[in-house]
């Protein structure tokens, strides 16, 4: 009898144990984090594209999946070269970023089939507005994820309080800008802070006003994309380059703008050592947080070439999964993870430079600035439909850094303005030839 009891208890215990084990196995099976424990996800990114805004999300990702993230942040002026080398030598990080636009995947990544994970059908596909999807897809396949803000990008951000105190008016033409710069310079303040040493900022003055070139030569973008027109000898472009040099020669960009980077830019605003600079609207928030200044800031359009066009841009830093990775599932999980409402809110909240994210997530709480709303109200809606030059024309953005170097050489008297433009034509032709663009054959 005793033996039967013992046998029954043993069987019951065994059943219970197996059920518990089974249950635990089932629970584990439902947990999609189980397979990744101990893995490492490497991310290759340029300075300014992730910054601290992703830190919290990355930490949570590491904790959730029991993995480590190796974040490789490369200085902006070296990133493009490094990425190309890494792709060419099949040694890229699991996740990499590019400054994408509707033509960039073809020209920058060159062979997305070979280098990029195909995310077509991913849950987060619908998160991106159609305008941004163009920068993430190639041959109808989704390769990239672009989570970027929709604020006015690289317009003139100026110290409104300083302007009001000195009775300075916002300029709407180049002549007004030049006169204003002279007045500001007389007070010992740098009129237009230009961080030339970054290598990628100063050329924005030329490219962000794409609408003005299209307006001067209707159909220019199409003609440039079909090799029917050139940058060289374009009168409006020459005019803008010469205006830029004139301001440089007059010292309105600061004493050593070519050797100055943007590290100290918010302090320059906060300390009132500069009056204006090209920046994103959301930079206002950063100035206030970095410096605690009580000054108010506003925005106006870059007035070079008497511009009145808004810098519309579907481009932005975009994240891709490297096809050669040994952790493809983890990469896919990372993309899913980053696009949850919780992560997006973290990214937005942790970024002093963002006031909004251009995503279709109704649960996301945006933080639009009154200055942004005020500025957008001043812009003619009909002048918001031309993309900035670098993203509206093929192969242009690929030579961003070279064009910047040429602009500096021009400002230092080492090159002629038309040679700067002609170099862009030569470079674009080379890129077109490389990809076998029929328009350049």
């Amino acid at each position: 009898m005793k033996r039967k009891k013992l046998w029954a208890v043993t069987c019951a215990a065994a059943m219970l144990a197996s059920m518990t084990a089974g249950l635990s196995v089932n629970v584990y099976a439902d947990d999609n984090t189980k397979d990744f424990a101990g893995e490492e996800l490497s991310i290759l990114v340029s300075t300014g594209w992730m910054d601290n805004r992703y830190d919290e999300t990355l930490e949570r990702f590491e904790d959730t999946y029991d993995v480590t993230v190796d974040l490789q942040t490369i200085p902006a002026d070296q990133y493009s070269d490094l990425l190309q080398s890494k792709l060419a030598t099949d040694s890229c990080a699991d996740v990499f970023w590019i400054q994408s636009n509707p033509f960039a995947i073809e020209s920058t990544i060159v062979d997305p089939e070979k280098y990029c994970i195909d995310f077509t059908g991913a849950e987060w596909e619908s998160l991106m507005p159609e305008t941004r999807k163009a920068s993430c897809t190639y041959n109808d396949k989704l390769y990239g994820l672009q989570v970027w803000n929709n604020s006015p990008e690289y317009v003139m951000v100026y110290n409104k309080t300083l302007f009001e105190e000195n009775g300075w008016e916002v300029p709407t033409t180049y002549a007004e800008l030049k006169d204003l710069c002279a007045e500001i310079a007389d007070t010992g303040i740098t009129p237009w802070f230009m961080p030339g040493a970054d290598g990628w900022q100063h050329q924005l003055a030329f490219f962000q006003i794409g609408g003005v070139y299209e307006e001067a030569t209707p159909g220019l973008y199409d003609a440039l994309n079909t090799n029917q027109a050139t940058f060289a000898d374009n009168e409006k472009m020459l005019e803008v380059l010469n205006e830029f040099k004139e301001l440089s020669d007059a010292g309105y960009f600061g004493e050593d703008w070519i050797g100055t980077d943007s590290t100290n830019m918010s302090n320059e605003y906060g300390d009132r050592t500069c009056a204006m600079a090209m920046a994103n609207s959301s930079f206002i928030k950063q100035i206030k947080e970095d410096t605690g200044t009580e000054d108010e800031f506003g925005m106006f359009l870059i007035p070079l070439g008497d511009n009145t066009w808004y810098p519309t841009s579907p481009a932005g830093p975009t994240m891709f999964g490297y096809k050669g990775t040994e952790h493809e599932d983890l990469v896919r999980e990372f993309f899913n993870f980053v696009t949850t409402t919780e992560s997006l809110q973290e990214i937005l909240d942790n970024s002093p430079a963002y006031t909004n994210l251009d995503v279709t997530d109704e649960n996301l709480e945006q933080h639009w600035l009154p200055e942004e709303e005020e500025f957008l109200a001043t812009v003619d809606k009909d002048k918001m439909n031309v993309s900035v030059l670098q993203n509206g024309t093929k192969y242009t953005n690929d030579y961003w850094m070279q064009f910047g170097q040429d602009m500096i050489a021009f400002c230092q008297g080492e090159m002629e303005a038309n040679d700067v433009l002609a170099n862009m034509d030569t470079n674009r032709a080379e890129a077109a030839k490389t990809v076998g663009d029929a328009n350049w054959e």
Partner: protein, 293 residues
């Protein structure tokens, strides 16, 4: 007898194979690719022989490749002068029985073990016009007149590069000179002193002739280093301002990064030819001097 002849070959085979596989073969392939249009799209479109087209492009286009070659040669010559002469002077001073010379040797040698990237980033910060340490010190010493745009003024930027390069390299060059100085018998100097030779005469007639070997070694290292220079320029100026400090290797790197591998290989082939020609000249000169000695 035959076995004895073959036996040493067994020792040579492995290093020779490694040398052929990892050095000679890639070098030969690089030279081969410089005659092709190999680029980032070749995986789809194939690679085609284009003859001397890449070289023609380098020597005839207005993209600054020629100035890159010129800058490379200029850097090779000046950086060697800037390092060799001070390094020789310092080595002689340290050899002369200066107090604490061990410490000086160590301090002078230390920079040469630092990676170029670290040195570049540190000096980029030190040389910043507005916030850099150098200009701040000059201001503090009321020497504001000496302030320079160290990395953005066309007339100064190369001097900054030479300066940083010398700061890093002098210790290494000095060490080779010190090794050479140690091999000169003291009796030579004693004999010269008895003959009434002053410091400069001892330097001219004893030290320098006896240091020929060390000078040659430093020259060979210095010239090959100068021709291949990349890191210090890339980190400090990235070829700028504008294109003022572009050298052959920064252009080759840019081309490679843009997927123009054939063109990049052509630039490297030119570098290989220049290095080979100069190398042969140096070796011939050295051989002649050895024969004379």
């Amino acid at each position: 007898m035959n076995k004895k002849k073959i036996y040493p070959w067994w020792f040579v085979i492995v290093p020779l194979a490694l040398y052929v596989i990892f050095f000679l073969l890639p070098s030969a392939m690089g030279v081969g690719y410089s005659f092709t249009d190999w680029n980032s799209r070749s995986v789809l479109n194939g690679t085609h022989f284009v003859g001397l087209q890449n070289f023609k492009e380098i020597f005839t286009s207005n993209k600054g490749y020629l100035s890159g070659i010129g800058n490379t040669l200029k850097f090779t010559i000046i950086s060697n002068i800037v390092k060799l002469i001070p390094a020789l002077m310092i080595a002689i001073m340290l050899q002369e029985g200066l107090r604490g010379k061990g410490l000086y040797r160590t301090l002078l040698y230390l920079p040469s073990i630092l990676p170029f990237v670290i040195i570049g980033l540190i000096f980029k910060s030190i040389l910043n016009y507005n916030t850099g340490l150098l200009n701040t010190i000059l201001d503090a010493l009321h020497l504001g007149i000496l302030k320079q745009k160290w990395l953005s003024d066309l007339g100064v930027v190369w001097k900054s590069i030479y300066g940083v390069d010398a700061w890093r390299g002098i210790g290494y060059v000095m060490t080779i000179f010190l090794a050479g100085l140690n091999t000169i018998p003291k009796s030579y100097y004693e004999a010269a002193q008895i003959d009434g030779a002053n410091f400069w005469q001892r330097l001219r007639y004893v030290t320098l002739p006896m240091l020929t070997g060390s000078i040659m070694i430093n020259l060979v290292f210095g010239i090959t280093y100068g021709l291949k220079v990349f890191d210090i320029v890339y980190v400090l100026t990235n070829g700028g301002p504008g294109h003022a400090t572009e050298v052959l290797t920064t252009y080759a790197f840019q081309l490679y990064s843009r997927g123009q591998y054939g063109m990049s290989s052509a630039l490297n082939t030119i570098l290989l030819i220049i290095t080979a020609v100069i190398g042969v000249l140096i070796v011939k000169t050295m051989s002649k001097q050895e024969v004379q000695q």
